[in-house]
């Protein structure tokens, strides 16, 4: 599955520690981690979130987005880890970290990668709640968030 996707639990603290000890010159590191929320937007109790990936398109798309981030911002390094399969509330779905000499570059590139992952990355999400199961798609704000990067 390459180094991005994993069906094992993600530990953001360990990932950030490993990312940081790999750096030589960067002054700033931004990380984002997304967790499974215990209650969904409709107020229902979430029991499981299932993430399906495609065996080749998902990885290729994420590596493209990573390359684009490195071409747009002066990054020393970036790390993307995304969980697939079944997750419980509180589990980490995604971890992104970026490192740069410039704090703004680190913030913007992490933000860009998350907008990509939310709206363009090839994943399908099924949420199982106490009242049933439903496939969920990106929110309108997720799409408008990603659109911010088109003009730059």
């Amino acid at each position: 599955m390459g180094e991005v996707l994993t069906s094992d639990a993600l530990s953001p603290g360990e990932l950030l520690g490993a990312f940081q000890s790999s750096l030589e010159v960067s002054g700033g590191v931004v990380s984002f981690c997304g967790q499974v929320r215990p209650i969904n937007g409709a107020g229902q109790t979430v029991t499981t979130l299932h993430l399906q990936a495609h065996p080749s398109l998902t990885d290729a798309g994420i590596l493209n987005a990573k390359a684009e981030a490195h071409s747009r911002w002066p990054l020393e390094a970036s790390m993307i880890r995304h969980r697939i399969g079944d997750m419980a509330p509180g589990d980490t779905i995604v971890f992104v970290a970026t490192a740069s000499a410039h704090r703004r570059a680190a913030f913007e590139s992490a933000d860009f990668l998350m907008d990509y992952l939310k709206t363009k990355a090839v994943f399908w999400k099924k949420e199982i709640t106490d009242t049933g199961a439903a496939w969920i798609e990106p929110r309108r704000e997720d799409h408008s968030d990603y659109a911010r990067w088109a003009s730059a």
């Binding site: 993430l51 995304h82 992952l117 994943f123 798609e137």
Partner: protein, 82 residues
């Protein structure tokens, strides 16, 4: 024989994640593929919906795109992770 796969909610809607078909002679591109397969699967238009994109041999294509009986054809509903 073409391998046809359905991802995300589409596997639930058509009742299978993967199947093989011999494509009819007149199915030559994604447009004819969509119309024929939506009838086969009683999709009620869902496989005609351009929001559900098609990948031919693991490349998401700009449509209409040619398809052949040796292709792997994937139906991809709207994506999003994180």
């Amino acid at each position: 024989m073409a391998l046809i796969t359905y991802w995300g909610k589409l596997a639930d809607l058509v009742g299978t994640a993967s199947e093989t078909h011999t494509l009819p002679e007149d199915v030559r591109d994604t447009q004819t593929l969509r119309r024929w397969l939506d009838g086969e699967k009683s999709g009620h238009g869902v496989l005609m919906d351009p929001a559900n994109r098609i990948a031919v041999n693991d490349e998401i294509v700009a449509e209409p795109a040619p398809v052949s009986d040796q292709d792997q054809l994937a139906f991809l509903p709207p994506v999003g992770g994180g």
